[in-house]
């Protein structure tokens, strides 16, 4: 019986703890108090549910228990501090218990939590950890390990961010229409950074890291459920389309496999279908942004059953659109690769050399890797070799380093030595 209850509580924790926390933050107006109240509520569940049975609505039970525990704690504190007459805020006393936990207000609370954690007034290096901790429920230790930061330093970042939310009064609110686009962008950026951190682990051996890509996709789904804005759909589609290639991106030895060399039968068709549909819906809205266009590019790749069937003309056109939305040298570089595939390596090389000549991307490994690849295809081996060497000097990720070393080795035979 006790084991059975323990299992039930564990399952409720997994399914509901983030919702309970988000609602308690609204009711209590304080992250730390809400977290403590939530843990008190789950502790109480472990004591009371074996005796009284599992309540019909565990979430409502946990929220109201947590809330009472927090009020109790505050009253106990108030007794020691006679001057404190704020023990009961208006929100604590008067809200109808039913209204705390109906589906709409609970889901609103989750949305509030996302927007608060991704508030642009918080330091960028705190937005991601705070989101992972409060919205996804990762522990500070897990987050610290993921970002290769010592746990106390990560804890301090999170504490500082929570302090700013409290002291500067960052509101627990879904942004209103005039500020929504900018604030949605901020939230989408955080989610995409989480995804990329998982997808292209910027340093170290790939497999040891927490599965941030799945976490980001979960966040993306949550956002689309709560706020079906086109660009949120576009981002979710983009992430699903990237993720669909996961099994094909590395070979058995963990080495990087280029898109054109991937075994496309390993691509996850269900993710491709879902991602492509989401991107299609976003495009149809005509209110889409750069994530949707990137999603459309990924969908073009996904639609080609073999690399040779890729519609490079479409892809170049999408990159043109992307570059107009977001002029950036990295996008110009990606466009160069697409142009090279459509028109030949000489055309791609001309664009990359142009970018490098402007002084942009000189320390960006992929610019030199692309230059090396174009030169290699043009038979300009010495130039290719020095470009790959430059890329290798800048690369930190192990599989990528091995890929570049292999390229250099293949070129090196009989040329230098």
């Amino acid at each position: 019986m006790a084991d059975h209850i323990q299992e039930t509580v564990d399952a409720v924790y997994t399914a509901e703890s983030r919702r309970v926390l988000a609602t308690l933050i609204r009711l209590l107006g304080d992250f730390d108090a809400a977290e403590e109240a939530m843990h008190d509520a789950f502790r109480a569940a472990l004591e009371q549910w074996p005796r009284d049975g599992v309540p019909a609505n565990p979430r409502a039970w946990l929220v109201s228990t947590g809330r009472f525990k927090a009020i109790d704690a505050k009253r106990r504190l108030a007794r020691f501090d006679a001057l404190d007459d704020t023990a009961d805020g208006p929100e604590l006393g008067t809200v109808d218990p039913e209204a705390w936990t109906d589906r709409d207000s609970v889901e609103d609370d989750r949305l509030r939590l996302i927007f608060t954690c991704c508030h642009p007034a918080l330091a960028p290096d705190a937005q991601i950890p705070l989101t992972l901790r409060e919205v996804c429920g990762l522990t500070t230790e897990e987050i610290a390990r993921t970002f290769l930061v010592a746990a106390p330093a990560m804890a301090q970042r999170i504490v500082r961010a929570k302090g700013k939310i409290r002291d500067a009064r960052i509101p627990y609110r879904v942004p209103e229409a005039p500020e929504l686009p900018e604030r949605l962008d901020a939230a989408l950026r955080v989610i995409y950074l989480v995804f990329n951190e998982g997808y292209t682990a910027s340093s170290g051996a790939a497999v040891t890291r927490y599965d941030l890509s799945s976490e980001a996709i979960r966040l993306g789904r949550l956002l689309v459920d709560l706020l079906p804005e086109p660009e949120a759909m576009g981002l979710l589609g983009l992430m699903l389309l990237h993720e669909s290639r996961r099994a094909a991106r590395a070979d058995a030895a963990g080495d990087l496999v280029l898109l054109e060399d991937q075994d496309r039968s390993l691509w996850d068709r269900a993710s491709i279908a879902e991602g492509t549909a989401l991107v299609g819906r976003a495009l149809a809205s005509r209110r889409f942004g750069p994530y949707t266009v990137q999603g459309a590019i990924a969908a073009c790749h996904a639609a080609a059953r073999e690399a040779a069937a890729t519609d490079w003309d479409d892809i170049v056109r999408l990159y043109d659109a992307l570059l107009r939305m977001e002029p950036s040298p990295v996008i110009a570089l990606n466009r160069a690769v697409a142009v090279a595939m459509r028109d030949g390596p000489a055309e791609g090389l001309a664009i990359v050399d142009d970018i490098l000549a402007r002084g942009e991307l000189r320390d960006y490994r992929l610019a030199h890797a692309a230059r090396g690849e174009f030169c290699r295809r043009l038979g300009r081996s010495a130039e290719a070799r020095s470009a790959f060497e430059r890329a290798l000097a800048l690369a930190k990720q192990e599989p990528e380093r091995r890929f570049l070393e292999r390229r250099i080795r293949d070129l090196g035979l009989g040329i230098r030595d």
Binding site: H119, A121, R169, I170, P171, R173
Partner: protein, 110 residues
């Protein structure tokens, strides 16, 4: 809640926004009940720094740190939360030329 909106400008931009525009901005805030106080400041060359160490008052010329931007004025506003404060601060004309630092006012613990 009160927020101080501290206006910073580079020296050559101190007069980039007309005084009449700043005054109109302050009047607008006041008529909507958002303003507690607002003043423009004389340039930083007129500043004097006062410190008390070991009971002795020391007075030095200028501000503590050399920075490119200087404090040019301030608005003390009343806002429900940081989002509202940011919206008000974004209406302060010199935000176009320099920057506005939004700082929550701290209640003295007395």
């Amino acid at each position: 809640m009160k927020y101080a909106c501290l206006v910073y400008l580079e020296t050559d931009k101190l007069h980039a926004v007309k005084d009449t525009e700043c005054a109109a901005c302050g009047d607008g805030f006041r008529s909507r009940g958002l303003l507690v106080a607002a003043e423009a400041l004389q340039p930083v060359e007129t500043a004097t720094t006062v410190r008390v160490r070991n009971g002795r008052v020391t007075v030095t010329d200028g501000p503590f740190a050399e920075t490119k931007e200087q404090l040019a004025g301030f608005y003390l506003i009343e806002a429900a939360d940081l989002n509202e404060a940011i919206q008000i601060a974004s209406k302060i004309p010199p935000a176009r030329e320099g920057s506005v630092e939004v700082r929550p006012v701290r209640q003295l613990e007395v």
